[in-house]
Every structure is written in C-alpha cells, then in structure tokens.
Symmetry: C2
Subunit: 407 residues, 2 copies
C-alpha cells in the first residue's frame, strides 16, 4: 500500500512524501508514483503525531461528573461512579476517548484501566495504537489478579495489531511489595511495558517515608522494579536522589501537568529531571482530572507552568516540550516515530496552516504549542493509514450519540 | 429586527429565545413569531459570550515572532519589530485578531495600542465591540500626546457604533505622574474608561518602592487616578493593602494568566483579591505573549493555575472563573451582558454540544472551561446580530491570505 502526500509543508518548505506500507519511504521536492493513492496536502503542514503516555481512556465518560472538590471528596465520588461502569460502558468510553485523541492529533496512548478486552476492541476498531495497561491492586483479590495475568498471557488481540500490553500495578498505596515484584517479574518474562503511578501527591511521599522509611522512587528501586521499559506517571515530588535513580534506571517519567494542577497535586520539577537527564514524556491522564485529551493543550500548559514555576521564560522551551509529546513517548515504547524522516514510522499529523491561530507562520512548533488547538488538526495518519481525513473520523456520529446517553 | 432562536439548550433545558434589536426579548419553552428570522439551534447550547478585558489586538502579527527568551531580550525584539508596523499593518493585525476572537466566542475586547483609527475601522467592519485604548507614554513626545487627546475628542467612530474609547497611560515606568494625572482628568471630563498596566513584574514593584517609596497601586492611588471606571491589567504582585485599595476604589483587576506565565511574571493572587472583594475580569493580553486570544483556554489556565498555586482543588472554581470571563468584564464597561436573561444585551455564544469534547454533558460550564476549545464554538451573536454562523465568518479567507504575508 502506498500513499503519496503532495505539496505538504515540512517546516519551511513544501515537499512530497511517499508512504509505503507503514513507513515514510521518501521525502523529496517532487515525487511521482502512479500506484500510490494521492493525498493533496496543499495548505497543510506535516508534523509528528502525538504519543499520550498516561491515560485512563474510558474515564471520558466521567468528564465534568464532579468538579472543584477537595481531592478525597472528588476521589470518593469518582470511585462510586466507576464501580457502576459495565464492560459496554468501558467500550463506549474508550471509543469517545479515541475519537477525541484522533481529533487532536494523537496516534498512541498508554492506558491503565480494566475490562481490557473492551479497550482493545475499541482501539483495534478505530485504528490507532495503544499500550493497554492491565491494572493491578491488592484490593482486586487473588482471583482477579490471576485472571489479569491469564489475560496478559492470552490477550484478545487480533494479529497484526497496533495494540501492546503493559503490566500496571496501580500505585504504592494500592499494591504491596509482593504484588509489585510479581507484576515486574511477569512483565520481564513476557517482555511487556511496566506502568505505574508514582509520587503523585505529597501525602504519598509522607506515607512512604512512614511505612517504608524511603521515598516512593527509592522504595520501588529497592524492589528492583525500575528499568528502561518502565513508565512512571506523575513524579511530582522527587528528591534529587530520586531523579538520579530514575535516570540511572532509564525509566521514563510521564508528566501530566493538567491533572497535577487540577487536582492540586503540585508542580513536576522538570528542571531537576532535565539536570539528571531523565527521560520525560507527556500524558493527559484521565478525562475526569483534565478534562480533555488534547496533547496540544497539554504541551502549552506544560511549558507555561515551567516558565512561571521557575520564574524563567526560557524554561519549558517549545522544542523540548514538543519532544516530550512526540519522540520521547515513541522511544519509551520502542516505536521509531516522532520525527519526519525517511525510514520512520508514518505516524503523521496534518495541521491546517490556514487556521487563524496558525498565522503568521514564523515558527510552526511555537504556533502549535502556544496558539493551536484541535481546530487546527485537519488529518491524522497512524501507521501509514489515515484515521481522520479533513476533520472527519468514520463513525463519529454514532460515538457521540452513544456518549449523550451518559449524564 | 427580530431573530428567533429555536431549540437551544439553556443549561439543562431546551428553549426558544426571541432577540429584538440588540436585546434578549423573551425566553420560553416555545415561541412563535412570524416576523422574526429563525435560527435553528438544535444541538447547540447558548452561553454568554466572552469579554476579553486586556488585549493588544494588532500584536497578532507578532505571534511566534520570538519565543522562550529572557524577558528583556524578548521585549527588545518585539519593540524593534513593532516600530516597523505601518497603519495598514495595524489594520490587518486587528482584523486577524478579531477573526480569532469571533471564532473563540469573544464579542468584546479592551485594547491598548496605536493607529487607533485603523483599529476602530477593523472593529466596525467586523461587527464586534471594543473599547479602544488610546495609549500614552512620555516617550511619545508632547506633540503626539496632544494629537492623541485630540483624537479622543473627535474619534473616527461612525455613529451608532459598538466602539468606545479608553485613555490608556501605558504603565508607571513609561508615564510620569503628571501624564497620569492629565490622562485621568481627561478621562473624567469625557467619561471614558481609564486603562493601564499595573504591577506586572516584581521589578516594577521594586523600582516603584525605590522611586516613589510606595508600591505601584499605592502610588497610583496617591495620584488619585483609581476609580470604578479603571481597568488594571495584571496586578500580579499586590500586597494586602494594595488589594484593599483596589477594592475600595472599585477598580477592576484584569487577570492575564497565560501572559503572566509565559513571560514568567508570576502568579496573580486571586485568593487575596477575592478576600478583599476586588472586581476581577479576564484578558488574553497580546498574541506575542500568549500566543492566542482564546478566552476558553484563558479560563482553563486561570483555574488550573489557582488550584496548583494554592495546592487547593477548590480554588479557581468554574463558576467564578466563568464570571471573570463574561459578566464581570461587561459590568466593568457598563454593558448589561454576561448572563442569559430577558432584557439583557444579546451577546451570545452558541456551543456545539455534539463536539466530542462536550460529552457527556453533566455540567456545561465545567465542560466549556476544562474541556472545550474553539472547535466547540459554532456561532456568535454580538449586540443581537450574528458575526459567525456555523463556524463561518464573512471575509475570513481574505484575512488569512493577508496574514500569510507576514513572516
């Protein structure tokens, strides 16, 4: 299968791009290929599509469900509502989330939830990538924990698929050390990503110091569960030593600025993490604490938050933040995407430079981060196939009609 | 002139709304009126349109011009570029800004710039409201200052118009006390709004303490130039006493969170301002320090910033922030808008509830602030007339073509 993208802006020039199967085959001033399907990209700019490295996609059904409450009141309300969600709800919620992600230029999400077969079904139907996290907590009970491991051995993934799995112990306050070790050893045996929440709140740090005499990262490190296939969501409250540990292990920090601000968790110390050369990627977290899945907005807020936190307008540099949202995420899950280069995976976003927020076009990365929103995302290609063309996603009307039932 | 809006969501119910001339005449379950032009608002929700209370609209031409620099390097670059802008550039830049504002649901902006007749021309052509600030600085020289006052006496406003003027001494570091007093006395004589930047940076506070032995608000108060027709842009660094002075004078603080974060100026103390019952409104500031004019995004960032700043998820409450962006701004300039009520001015935004970011619809205000972006704004009515219908603004293609010349 070949697609020929004609007349697309690539930074400061207009080029043609040939996509063969799922790869960028050739980038040149002019390409002709009679076998290829042509996509006229006049007035569109091509950019790497987004990798959303921490999400709870089906929580899209809880968008706006309860707001502006103290953290534990909010959590109690959310947990009660979550307990009522059926397998079908999870499927519907995931589809709504994927629609939102496609519309905002995201081709991949690292998820963490339950009813995994429903999430996988939604992802495969809609044609984007996901790393679906099998969520573990001691409170699930031994039977469900075993079932989860069984599912991870024989997942309902249709080969070939853009879906992979992670083993995702929820957090240090919901999983004991034996469960963490069991999860990690399973992940290693089956070569899966290891994904966990870590150091999200000050309370988590204080509790860990009390219970383990160690800070959260030190504690997980002492269990030997951190390595280069680990995603650590949040990492808001890190000591210098913890940043160093993460860097030495090669784990990826997933920064979720909107969620950390909305839930008043605190400010991730990106300057410290960069000082220790930690790998940093970006995520939206779930819709109930954001409340959208736009990586464009997440980039702007990440950048502005860093600038005001350090009172330094050079922090949160746009090129750095753009890497967090694209290349760094792809690298963390071993996909050769996040850059527009020959041989790279064709995960591509097409941005409408005729949108009023994209002009003047001095610097497209800066316009994308500081000015754009989802109205600028015209088309999206995942693994060489279009999942949105000119603002239209197949089946979107049905997804919205079903979402309207929830309120 | 009458417009009948059929089947529109008003919070939790579907109603019809009759607009007569520029006012909301009637809100009822069903209205029939054979003389009225009908607007079918099925699947749209009506909300008060936004009042952007601090902008430099023509700076839209400088969007992305230079980024992520230390404040004074950035300012020097901007000032050099600004010095090259012609009257025609100002007209083109203002039109681009107004297009962006209309597309994001804004019907009013309080501006501060030069080439005022060009700004007024752009506003009148495009049909929204503005309070155009005549900007004063000592460095302009006596001749230009006199010309500015002359213009303010006989502005190029076509009656009837939605344009009003303000007298806008730039800031305490660019205007001396005599110029402030002269500006204020002119504003009082001609019943105009008084608009100034105040307490934007810590440096401004320190310099004022050195030069005037008073903090910035105390200093302007000592000159007697603060009252209920004053707009104070920024107010990032206020003491308790300064918050009290602003409250006692009835001046309106215009909070510009994106700009304050991007330029690393600091965090406006909204909790303190609310404690003293200060009037608070919201603004985007200019495009070069934001870099867009979306009040939807400004609301989200205002709310999240307050939550994380106070580490309190109840701060930046969505209803409070929505008032900052609508009603409070309208009140500050004496327009009976900002609420959907019979007798109110018909400044109305129509939001597409079929947008993927607006579902589920538990709470439309929360969805608008925390999830929506400009892709959700379907139509906009200003003073009883549509300035955008179903995402289309008359003449938008030409504005974009002209904007593309700048880079």
């Amino acid at each position: 299968m070949k697609t020929l993208i004609k007349n697309v802006y690539l930074y400061n020039k207009t080029v043609d791009i040939l996509i063969k199967d799922n790869l960028i085959n050739k980038i040149s001033d002019t390409i002709e290929d009679k076998e290829a399907e042509v996509f006229d990209a006049t007035n569109l700019a091509v950019l790497p599509a987004f990798y959303n490295m921490h999400a709870h996609s089906s929580m899209s059904l809880l968008r706006g469900f309860c707001e502006d409450l103290p953290l534990f009141d909010w959590l109690n309300n959310i947990w009660k509502r979550e307990a009522t969600l059926s397998a079908e709800d999870i499927y519907n919620g995931t589809r709504l989330a994927i629609l939102e992600m496609i519309k905002s230029g995201t081709v991949f999400f690292a998820d963490m939830y339950w009813h995994h077969s429903e999430i996988i079904r939604a992802v495969e139907e809609m044609g984007i990538r996901a790393n679906v996290g099998i969520c573990f907590m001691n409170s699930l009970g031994r039977k469900t924990i075993e079932e989860n491991f069984d599912f991870a051995k024989n997942p309902t993934i249709t080969k070939p698929s853009l879906v992979s799995l992670s083993i995702a112990p929820h957090a240090i306050y919901t999983c004991d050390k034996d469960l963490y070790k069991e999860c990690y050893s399973f992940a290693k045996k089956h070569d899966l990503i290891f994904h966990t929440h870590l150091s999200e709140t000050q309370k988590e740090v204080e509790d860990s110091l009390k219970e383990n005499s160690m800070r959260p990262v030190e504690y997980l490190n002492s269990l030997g569960v951190l390595d280069s296939k680990t995603l650590l969501a949040h990492c808001v409250h890190l000591s210098e030593k913890e940043a160093e540990i993460i860097s030495q292990n090669g784990a990826t920090i997933v920064h979720n600025p909107c969620s950390n601000m909305k839930l008043a968790s605190g400010v991730f110390d990106s300057r410290q993490a960069r000082k220790y050369n930690c790998k940093i990627a970006l995520g939206t977290d779930g819709n109930s604490s954001n409340n959208n899945l736009s990586m464009i907005e997440e980039m702007k807020i990440a950048s502005l938050l860093a600038k005001v936190h350090y009172l330094d307008s050079e922090e949160g540099n746009s090129n750095t933040v753009f890497s967090w949202a694209t290349k760094n995420g792809a690298e963390a899950v071993g996909i050769n995407a996040g850059e527009i280069k020959e041989g790279g995976v064709a995960d591509l976003m097409f941005v409408n430079i005729d949108n009023e927020k994209m002009q003047p076009n001095y610097n497209i990365i800066s316009n994308l981060i500081y000015s754009a929103d989802t109205s600028c995302v015209d088309s999206l290609m995942c693994d060489g196939k279009f999942v949105m063309k000119h603002y239209y996603v197949e089946g979107e009307e049905e997804i919205i009609e079903i979402a309207k039932r929830y309120k």
